[in-house]
């Protein structure tokens, strides 16, 4: 195991809906005290709760290092707006944004929009893949150095470093470029729950982090290997796709926190996972035990780092900043 490799630890901070900012700020700060890589906030259009991306934008200036990953759905939203909003979360958090891609399968959600009826998950995940693709293109539609502020020629931007994406998918098309300059991380981190088949097909192509819900390290290892193989088959470097086990937790005592540390440490040391994504039953209580009980033990075992080595979520995850797909095209031509 390389010296820089570190167990990735993250947690969901949703739960029963809250509408006050203080609730989410205190949870994110707690997770940050435990040097977790990131927190997620799940979301759908159909059950009570605030808009997750808005909540984590509100949390951003109130935190310093923790990665912020809201669920952003692709079924009833506009890909152009989605790309701008996630890029903006990256700007306001100074490079700590991600998005958990999801689809809306239900008829109830379709009726909230009245534009299309519910569709099978396979179709929606196919569309989600297209959305992830165009969102990446929009993030790259400004090269990093597109803004030149050149007084001598009067030009604010170099238009040759802005690109039309001209994307045509099955259900939408986007002309581009984005209205938002390329975000600090280049691409905010893409997280996909890769447990179900259709979603896994999206994860192996587009995710930086794949989550798998599984009960045993054996199943986790099998899923991880499959995901890495398929990513490789798509021409990706599997080491740039972390697979985290999504673990429901319910901690009532310090002993529970110790047990959790044992389990997580073992799975990780056996190479079954790159880390875990904790799904607390009671987020305030469970996260408290994790930060004060589980985290120190994992640090003591040398599996978890004691501080944030960098400032951005990509740095926490050991992921490099992606090369701009258009800049690369420009160089080779």
């Amino acid at each position: 195991m390389s010296a820089t490799r570190s167990l990735h630890l993250s947690a969901e901070i949703g739960g029963p809906p809250h509408f006050d900012a203080a609730h989410y700020v205190s949870l994110a700060r707690l997770a940050e005290r435990g040097t977790l890589d990131f927190v997620t906030l799940s979301d759908t259009f159909a059950r009570p709760g605030p808009d997750a991306l808005a909540v984590l934008s509100r949390v951003a200036p109130a935190t310093e290092r923790i990665g912020l990953v809201p669920t952003v759905t692709t079924t009833h939203t506009e890909p152009f707006h989605v790309s701008a909003a996630v890029a903006t979360l990256d700007w306001v958090s100074r490079g700590r944004a991600g998005w958990a891609v999801d689809v809306s399968t239900g008829e109830a959600e379709a009726r909230l929009f009245g534009r299309r009826s519910a569709a099978p998950g396979d179709d929606l995940w196919h569309e989600a893949r297209e959305v992830a693709d165009v969102v990446g293109k929009l993030w790259d539609s400004w090269e990093d150095d597109a803004e030149i502020r050149d007084s001598s020629t009067g030009r604010f931007i170099d238009r040759d470093k802005l690109h039309y994406v001209d994307f045509k998918g099955r259900t939408f098309s986007v002309r581009g470029p984005s209205i938002v300059p390329r975000p600090p991380q280049g691409h905010p981190v893409t997280v996909i729950d890769a447990t179900a088949d259709a979603a896994r097909a999206a994860a192996v192509r587009h995710a930086d982090i794949a989550l798998v819900r599984t009960d045993t390290p054996t199943a986790a290892r099998a899923a991880r290997e499959e995901i890495r193989d398929r990513a490789r088959a798509h021409g990706r470097d599997p080491d740039r796709l972390s697979v985290l086990a999504a673990l429901p937790i319910e901690l009532h005592t310090t002993a529970d926190a110790v047990d959790l540390a044992g389990l997580v440490g073992d799975w990780y040391e056996q190479g079954a996972v790159d880390g875990v994504h904790l799904l607390p039953a009671d987020v305030e209580r469970d996260l408290g035990f994790v930060v004060d009980g589980t985290v120190p033990l994992l640090q003591h075992r040398g599996l978890l780092r004691r501080f944030y080595p960098g400032a951005t979520l990509r740095e926490h995850l050991g992921l490099t900043r992606p090369v701009n797909q258009y800049a690369r095209a420009g160089e080779s031509s």
């Binding site: 509408f19 006050d20 900012a21 259009f45 159909a46 059950r47 009570p48 709760g49 605030p50 808009d51 991306l53 808005a54 909540v55 934008s57 509100r58 949390v59 951003a60 200036p61 109130a62 009833h76 939203t77 506009e78 890909p79 152009f80 707006h81 701008a84 909003a85 890029a87 903006t88 979360l89 700007w91 306001v92 958090s93 959600e109 009726r111 909230l112 929009f113 009245g114 400004w142 597109a146 803004e147 502020r149 007084s151 020629t153 009067g154 030009r155 604010f156 931007i157 170099d158 238009r159 802005l162 939408f172 098309s173 986007v174 002309r175 581009g176 470029p177 209205i179 938002v180 300059p181």
Partner: protein, 430 residues
């Protein structure tokens, strides 16, 4: 009693008036810029902070326009972040009613209202064309009449959604069946701290004014002179009665610029300098091309105007308002340049918009107050020409003078934007 002035701060995003060549001009995208301007506005006890929106980069001669400040964040996301670093300041986002869906946007606005404890506002714009539409699923184009119909039904639907929770906090199913929206279900966000986010309208046509009179809390206008302001004010306020509304229920706020100096002459000199910086040689040619409809890149901006005629059918200019009679404008410009001996650039400077309020802090304070006391406006949306520091002098020098004369608050009376604007909480229509 002296009528109270309302003040808002515009963060100039994509625009041609920020003097970006000035060394004090900083990033238009880093969060620190937004934070600085918002904190200054809150220090000045402003009513709200305002962001415009554009959903496609502008083009000129089929190429992305490269002379102006460009690149902006998505508004609601930035405003949620600003809610973390401000306490009282209202937070207003311009969001298009053509390229969004009521359920999603109503939810995002209600969320901002909760997370900011009652400080959210929505500036409803309708601008729509096939050019912008190319970025969206909807794709196409709504003609002018339909745009306002969709916008009106959009606002109505958003309000139905916001009212679908009782003030006591019980969610009730909603359904809306209209020409543009056919939706039903349950809204996920309880009634927000202000009842509803504040609704602002920007748009000047008869339809626009009627739309504002029927349903907006604030109207954002371009009528920045005393004369035009009074006419607009009288017209819009007179429309309210037909909707059972009181003149005070709709605040009229023009977007205005300002330049301060130690003396009147000093301020005039600065204003002239700023105008020269805003109209670069390249920008002068571009302004000319927009009227002539021709490629004039071979002309010298410091030389005379072209003696060829405009070509109104060239299709050179896209995504901008068409000039109705380019021949007339060209003739007027030629006459002006001959009479005063002006170059292309000087002519453009002479004909482009002047700074609205130029003078000493005292004279600017007097003038602003006169506008409000004589019903040319209820307040102003200030557009600084430098980001993010362009409001500092105004807050330090003009605001205290307005406060001294009792025309502007010295402390926020309440916590919500509605309370700053003196607007009642909307009656719940369950």
């Amino acid at each position: 009693m002296t009528k109270q002035i309302h003040l808002a701060a515009h963060f100039p995003g994509v625009n041609s008036t920020t003097v970006w060549t000035d060394p004090r001009s900083r990033s238009q995208i880093d969060f620190s810029s937004f934070e600085q301007l918002a904190r200054t506005a809150e220090r000045g006890k402003f009513d709200f902070f305002f962001l415009a929106e554009g959903l496609r980069l502008r083009e000129h001669k089929g190429l992305i326009h490269d002379l102006d400040v460009v690149g902006r964040p998505e508004s609601l996301t930035v405003l949620n972040a600003l809610a973390a670093v401000t306490d009282r300041l209202g937070l207003a986002a311009t969001v298009n009613a053509t390229f969004n869906e009521p359920y999603e946007l109503a939810r995002r606005l209600a969320t901002l209202d909760h997370l900011s404890a009652g400080r959210a506002a929505w500036n409803v714009v309708t601008s729509s064309d096939a050019f912008t539409g190319e970025n969206f699923r909807r794709g196409g184009y709504l003609d002018r009449a339909d745009r306002y119909k969709r916008a009106a039904e959009f606002v109505e639907t958003a309000r139905e959604l916001w009212d679908s929770w009782t003030p006591e906090g019980t969610s009730r199913p909603f359904s809306h069946h209209g020409p543009h929206f056919d939706i039903e279900g349950e809204f996920t966000v309880p009634r927000s701290p202000q009842g509803h986010p504040v609704v602002i309208q920007a748009g000047d046509s008869d339809e626009g004014r009627e739309f504002a009179a029927a349903s907006a809390d604030v109207i954002f206008t371009r009528h920045g002179t005393l004369e035009a302001g009074r006419t607009f004010y009288a017209d819009v306020k007179a429309r309210l009665a037909a909707y059972g509304r009181d003149p005070d229920d709709l605040k009229i706020m023009p977007g205005v610029t300002f330049v301060l100096g130690e003396t009147a002459a000093d301020a005039q000199e600065r204003a002239a300098e700023i105008r020269k910086q805003q109209v670069s040689p390249q920008n002068a040619l571009l302004a000319l091309e927009q009227i002539w409809g021709r490629d004039l890149s071979a002309y010298d901006p410091d030389g005379p105007l072209p003696d060829i005629d405009p070509d109104p059918d060239s299709g050179l200019v896209q995504g901008r308002v068409r000039i109705a009679d380019p021949f007339a404008v060209a003739a007027k410009w030629r006459a002006l340049s001959e009479e005063k001996g002006l170059s292309i650039r000087q002519t453009v400077i002479e004909t482009s918009t002047r700074q609205s309020f130029v003078g000493t802090p005292q004279s600017v304070a007097d003038e602003l107050d006169t506008f409000v006391q004589t019903e040319a406006a209820d307040g102003f949306i200030l557009v600084p020409h430098l980001t993010p520091g362009g409001l500092d002098d105004f807050v330090d020098q003009v605001v205290p003078l307005l406060q001294e004369r009792g025309a502007f608050r010295t402390e926020y009376a309440g916590t919500t934007l509605r309370s700053h604007l003196g607007l009642p909480e909307p009656v719940w229509k369950g």
